[in-house]
């Protein structure tokens, strides 16, 4: 069969080093003093400030109310990531199912309408979106943070691609067995889509987790602040302001912010690669 050469491993090692290197450096940097980081930049050794820095960002209560810790912010980001990913997957599966498996008037129009959302990122339509959210009374709420982000069509597009590649025979067989549209969807299509769902879950969770501009604009209550906002807040010290940013704390939060999405990625990529291989052989 195919022979594995040393080159294959070399390329992979190089790839892994290039991909991981900056993160390792960011971690090492986070264990140093902020003045050292400011003066000499990224650090390549393990410093002596690991425990105090991480203790501070995780457990120290900050903010005006003194109730916001790194953990609160991680929790908010988690809700944002999960809510966004799950909401988006459910909604876009339903829409894609309708588009691919039903013959109805306006199908083409609906298709293009949904796909037109790829044309304008949220950052561009942010002020009108704020007004809509305000009218529904959703400022300072998780729902208000999540729902406007779901508008984009990537998920629907993704499931459309997948449904189109599902063999037609499946539906024919199901119809012979007398399955209706809901039974076919729940009993056959959803189980078949688990791998796709987990694949999309990875993208969407990370996307939701990493949102900055929208949550910043529409929340003023500190209890809704996310981890990415926490990082920006630490780094934002003005030139006139007599201070240097706490780079160590920002880097530490950045490292912590990476952990949950990485767990999601690792967990789900195993599931979904396994699922794919099994379904095929």
């Amino acid at each position: 069969m195919r022979k594995v050469t040393i080159w294959d491993h070399l390329i992979l090692i190089l790839g892994a080093v290039i991909m991981m290197g900056p993160l390792v450096v960011a971690f090492l940097t986070s264990t140093h003093d902020s003045v050292d980081i400011y003066m000499s930049g990224l650090q390549f050794t393990f410093g002596d400030r690991f425990v105090p820095t991480y203790d501070k960002v995780l457990a120290h209560s900050g903010g005006f109310t003194k109730e916001v810790t790194g953990l609160t912010m991680l929790w908010n980001s988690l809700i944002l990531g999960l809510g966004f990913a799950i909401g988006k997957i459910v909604i876009s599966m339903m829409a894609a199912y309708a588009i691919v498996y039903f013959r109805f008037r306006f199908a083409t129009a609906v298709f293009w309408l949904i796909f037109s959302t790829l044309l304008l990122p949220l950052e561009v339509r942010i002020i009108p979106s704020y007004e809509v959210v305000q009218k529904f009374g959703l400022l300072n709420s998780y729902a208000g943070m999540i729902v406007p982000l779901i508008a984009s069509a990537t998920g629907t597009f993704f499931f459309r691609q997948f449904y189109k590649s599902v063999p037609d025979e499946l539906l024919e067989a199901a119809r012979i067995d007398g399955a209706g549209p809901f039974k076919f969807f729940i009993d056959i299509l959803v189980p078949l889509s688990t791998t796709m769902m987990s694949a999309l879950f990875i993208i969407m969770f990370v996307y939701g987790w990493n949102q900055y501009l929208w949550p910043t604009l529409m929340t003023t209550d500190e209890h809704y602040f996310t981890i990415v906002r926490g990082i920006k807040q630490i780094l934002q010290v003005w030139v006139g302001g007599n201070q240097i940013p706490a780079y160590n704390e920002a880097m530490a939060l950045a490292i912590l912010a990476v952990v949950p999405p990485v767990l999601v990625v690792i967990l789900f990529q195993r599931w979904f690669i396994k699922g794919l291989t099994e379904s095929d052989k």
């Binding site: 007004e131 780094l235 006139g240 302001g241």
Partner: protein, 435 residues
């Protein structure tokens, strides 16, 4: 047990009742890191100082993000009571007549007399209207000054220059001593806006833009500033001027590393420099041109001000007014000055700091205030131009091209003039219907 629970809930109810009795006001700001902590502390002190009002500050991102969040909220009727707006955004909010209650009116409604003469000269007019009435309440304020590397000056055997002519005389010696003679940290602020104030040259028509957006034109394609930049480019070519990009920190680093002799930066930078600079340093005023008649007057501030948003209940406005009085009290101004390096905005706070012996310990903290208190003249009160964020972007773009040698001084300033005036004309149309 039950008794304890009941008494606990009663005390809880009482607690929330007293909290409810206080009028809630909000303050959106763009102060991150340590500055945000100081903002929170000031809000806490205000809340502790009286029982009627309760102020909650909220961090809303960068200055630009804070302003845009305020705008989006205003359009939806959810605006905060107090919005922090930075220098370049002040024309946007001041020209939107009806968006804010002028700070002076707000205070006078509460029976507090605001006397502009109580404020430091370079602070007084920046957020005021053409007649001198305070629209915004100056908050975090600083001015560009010159820091000098004491080792470098000693090695070259020279004194810090007062004028650019003096600089040109000592620059070769500093270079021979192995230093980059000069670096700056914010081109539009230091080498344009405060060039016009320090040298007393008109910056825009319509009284530097104070008389309204309609017909305001930038006066930048003019001999004095072009002369200055012709010299700057010449200094760069001779190795007298180091340029490391537009962002301030990129230019500050070489000074901190001890490679640079003279560094132009915010008067508030000394605290950070004290932690990071590898050599002893001092500070003095921003140089001016001896060849320009009437030059050497005071500079004006940069930073941001607090604006009281309109459309709020009278009780809330009263609380905002009280907070403005609290904020400008000498004690709070002195606390703010000490903690952050920003200048105190009132003369009384400056006197308090002097009396407390603060400047005997940290002389660099006083340089900015002294410079802002120099004698004034006609063109040193500030500027008011719309879409100024974009105008600064245009300036930076052209200056980088100029310093890289991609463009001549004439071409750069012609482009800045054309593009800025197009933006100003556009801005005038946005406000047209509101006047």
């Amino acid at each position: 047990m039950i008794k304890r629970l009941v008494s606990f809930s009663i005390s809880l109810a009482l607690l929330s009742n007293t909290a409810l009795a206080a009028t809630e006001i909000t303050w959106w700001h763009g102060m991150g890191g340590k500055l945000g902590d100081v903002v929170n502390e000031i809000a806490n002190r205000y809340n502790a100082s009286q029982a009627d009002c309760h102020l909650t500050p909220a961090f809303k991102g960068t200055y630009e993000e804070t302003l845009t969040a305020g705008i989006a909220a205003f359009r939806a009727g959810e605006q905060p009571n107090i919005l922090q707006v930075f220098d370049a955004g002040s024309a946007t909010i001041i020209n939107a007549k009806g968006a804010v209650i002028p700070a002076q009116d707000l205070l006078e409604q509460e029976g507090v007399k605001l006397n502009p003469d109580d404020y430091i000269d370079g602070v007084r007019n920046f957020y005021a209207d053409a007649s001198g009435k305070f629209i915004g309440m100056p908050f975090n304020s600083s001015s560009p000054i010159m820091y000098f590397n004491k080792e470098a000056l000693a090695k070259a055997g020279v004194e810090p220059p007062k004028t650019w002519e003096e600089f040109e005389a000592i620059a070769p010696k500093l270079k021979d001593a192995g230093y980059v003679p000069l670096v700056q940290s914010h081109m539009p602020w230091i080498f344009v806006e405060n060039f016009f104030s320090r040298n007393n040259v008109q910056f825009a028509s319509n009284d530097n833009g104070y008389k309204g957006a309609e017909g305001t034109k930038i006066l930048i394609n003019t001999p004095e500033i072009k002369m200055h930049w012709t010299h700057v480019k010449d200094w760069k070519d001779k190795g007298w001027f180091g340029f490391y990009g537009v962002p301030g920190p990129d230019n500050q680093k070489p000074f901190e590393e001890g490679k640079v002799a003279l560094f132009l930066a915010s008067s508030g930078a000394f605290g950070g420099l004290a932690k990071t600079a590898s050599m002893p340093f001092g500070s003095t005023f921003l140089p001016y041109w001896g060849s320009i008649k009437g030059a050497g007057v005071h500079s004006f501030i940069g930073g941001a001000a607090l604006f009281a948003m309109s459309g709020k209940a009278a009780a809330e406005n009263a609380c905002t007014a009280k907070f403005f009085s609290f904020l400008t009290s000498p004690e709070i101004q002195y606390y703010w000055h000490k903690e952050t390096g920003y200048v105190p905005v009132t003369k009384a706070a400056y006197e308090l700091a002097k009396a407390d012996g603060y400047y005997a310990k940290t002389p660099d903290a006083e340089t900015g205030i002294k410079q802002l208190s120099l004698p004034g003249a006609e063109w040193d009160k500030g500027y008011r131009m719309g879409f100024y964020v974009q105008i600064r972007d245009v300036m930076n773009r052209e200056f980088v091209k100029l310093l890289n040698g991609d463009e001549s001084v004439d071409a750069a300033f012609a482009t800045i003039e054309t593009d800025s005036n197009a933006l100003l004309e556009k801005f005038a149309k946005t406000t047209a219907a509101s006047n």
